[in-house]
């Protein structure tokens, strides 16, 4: 699958929530877009990633 524009190999399907936790993202500080659609916080445990998934994980940075 693709995560933030990088190709990533997914061993087995996982939920968005599990992916974030396993990879050390702070769940409360990021927004998620899966295949072009926002995944609301409450839906992260159910949203599943497969090897075709295009995932964007974004956060705030300093800026004007």
């Amino acid at each position: 699958m693709q995560v933030n524009g990088e190709h990533v190999t997914l061993e087995a399907p996982v939920s968005v929530a599990d992916y974030l936790e396993t990879h050390g993202y702070r769940a409360e500080r990021v927004a998620i877009e899966l295949n072009g659609e926002i995944v609301p916080r409450a839906a992260r445990a159910e949203a599943m990633l497969d090897d075709q998934a295009v995932l964007e994980i974004v956060q705030f940075v300093q800026g004007g």
């Binding site: 933030n4 524009g5 990879h23 050390g24 993202y25 702070r26 500080r29 990021v30 927004a31 998620i32 877009e33 926002i38 609301p40 916080r41 964007e56 994980i57 974004v58 956060q59 705030f60 940075v61 300093q62 800026g63 004007g64």
Partner: protein, 289 residues
Amino acid sequence: MSTITPVTEASVDATPLPPQPAVVNPVGTAAPILPVEDKPLNLGGHEFHSRFILGSGRYDLNLIKATVEHAGTEIVTMALRRATTTENSVLDYIPEGITLLPNTSGARNAEEAVRIARLAREVCHTDFVKVEIEHETKYLLPDNAETIRATEMLAGEGFVVMPYMFPDPIAARQLEEAGAAAVMPLGSLIGSNMGLRMRDFIEIIIANANVPVIIDAGIGRPSQACDAMEMGADAVMAYTAVASAGNIPLMAEAFRHAIDAGRAAYLSGLGKVTEGHAVPSSPTTGYLH
């Protein structure tokens, strides 16, 4: 030898003046001098007392809190980017109670701006968004046509839309009609510290606006921020001028004072300008000759 007691703020406070009778302005109009109460800055129904919007960085994260406090600001901008797991979150460094204003920098058209705005709302649960749509990195000029389109789409989704714009008075009117909560014309190129180069057109925008006008880019010095406020701007946003200062929190404080001074001058009503001749400030009678 007599001693002179220095005047301190405490000694001034200790001897309040008795109530003063109303006096008339000795120069220019005969308007009575009255205390003026300022109205809060209203952005989409949200009220703010500070008229200084601050960019969140390009400096040490640990300086943000002091800078925000010295600025007295209530609104801080930030950008949205792909997340890494190694970076500290800027949100951890913003003091409580500050309104976050995400920008859509990186967007090249209205659709990309809408996408970024929605993601930003998902992170911080704010409806505020500063629309910023640019195509190139040399001048970073905003695309007014796409910005108007994005403003209409985002206002329709309930966002408080604050568009960064090239100071075209016609576009400012169209942004208002599209539902903008404020317009943010650039003073000069982003990050250039060149000041109010677009002054004449910003004055036209201010004269005709029904929403707050916030001068956004290029303000490089407190005196320029003061100038913008004297002109009648409703607020000033600064970022590079503060971030590139030698002492960042102190510069933030300087901007705060300048913005307050400019606002007070605007509310007080500036005296008229005369050209080609002097206006005596001392009596023209009773000379010793």
